[in-house]
Amino acid sequence: MNGAQDMGGVHGFGLVEPEPNEPVFHADWEKRAFALTLAMGTPGGWNIDMSRFARENRQPTEYLAMSYYQLWLAGLEALLKERDLVSDDEIVVGHSLHPPKPVTRILSPGDVAQVLYRGGPTERETNTKARFKAGDTVRAKNINPLTHTRLPRYVRGHLGQIERVIGCHVFPDSNAQGAGENPQWLYTVRFDGRELWGDGADPSVTVSVDAWEPYLEPL
C-alpha cells in the first residue's frame, strides 16, 4: 500500500536528531509492548509480513502521529482482534472476559534463547532459475497494490542494475495476505542517484533496494 510508511524521498521531516547515550527503551511500556509483540508471535501464528502490514495499514495521519512502539502496539492489537484472540471490551476493562481460544503453544522462558537464536530465515529451496544475472539492466515496475509490498515508491519506474542475485526468498506480497510464502528470486538492485532524483542530484550517490523478481522487468 502507498502508505505513510513508504518514506524514501519525502520532504519536510527535518533534521536527523541523534541522542547521545540513548537507552534501549525510553519507557517501561515500550519494553512491555516490544516483548508482548515478540512473545505473541508464537501462539498468534502470524508472520513478519503480516506484522508489518498490521502496523502500516492505517491512515497516514495516524501513522505519522504515533511513536514507533505505539505502532507496534496498534499492530499487535489489530492482529489479535483479527484472529479473535482478544476483543475490544477486554482491552477496555483490562481483563479477560471471554474464554481463551485454544493455541498450540506459547513462548516459555526456557524457549526464549533458542527461539531468538533460530530466528526466521526466509531463504527457500527452488527448482526455478533466476531470470536476471548480475550486471543486467532492469526496470522496477510501476505497481501500486492496496496490499502489502516492499517495493518503495521512489524506485518504481526507474532503471537499475542487478548487483547481486541473493537467492530465493519468501515473497512478502503473498505472505502478508496469508496467500502462502510463494518464494521468489531476490536481487540487490542498484540505482544511480540521478536516475532516482534527477540531474541535479549528487552524482556520487548510488542507492540499492532488495527486490523480488515480480517487482522487476527486463529492459
Binding site: 513508504d6 524514501g8 516490544f34 482478544v86 530466528g119 541473493i166 549528487d202 556520487s204 540499492s208
Partner: protein, 204 residues
Amino acid sequence: MSGHDHDHDHSELTETQLRVRALETVLTEKGYVDPAALDLLIETYEKKVGPRNGARVVAKAWADAAFRARLFKDATLAIAELGYAGRQGEHIVALENTPMRHNMVVCTLCSCYPWPVLGLPPVWYKSAPYRSRAVADPRGVLKDFGVRLPKDTEIRVWDSTAEIRYLVIPMRPAGTEGWSEDKLAELVTRDSMIGTGLPKEPAK
C-alpha cells in the same frame, strides 16, 4: 511548548501505558503469554545483545585477514563463529568501506536492522527524518551526524527492503597497528556500523 500541549502529551502517554498494561493482563489471564518470558526478552535486548557484538565483529575483521575474507564471503556464517545469529540477522551481508566508497544503511519502509550484531535500532534510525532523507540526501544526513566525506567518495546507500541485514565494516583507523581485538573494538561505534559515523581515532 504551551502548558496545554504538555498536558496533552502527558495524557496520551498515560493512555498508552494503561493500554499496554491492560493488554498484558488480558494476554496473561488467557494464558497466551508467560510474563517471565517477557522479562527475559527485555533483558536479552537491554543487557546481552547490542552494538558491542558488532564491534567485536569489526575488530576481528580489522585484525584477522582470514576472518575478514570469510566475513565478506558469507557474513551470516562468519558472524555465527562469534556466537551472534538469529532473529533479524538471519541473512547478514557485510559492507566494506574504502577510501573510494562509504556505505550507509537505512530501512525506508520500517526499521529493519541487524539485531544480533547491533541490538535494537536507535530512535533516529526509525524516525521519519532519517528514513526519508537517507536515500535522497545521504550527505546531508551525514552532516547531521557531523560527518563530512570527500566530494568524490561514492556514497552507497542500502535500503533494507527484504530480510537481508547489512553491517558496515568501517575502515581501520590509522595508528592502530599491532592493537589487540579488544582494544580495537573500543574504537568501533554503533553509528560507524550503520554508516552514519566513523570509528573513534586512537588517543594521541
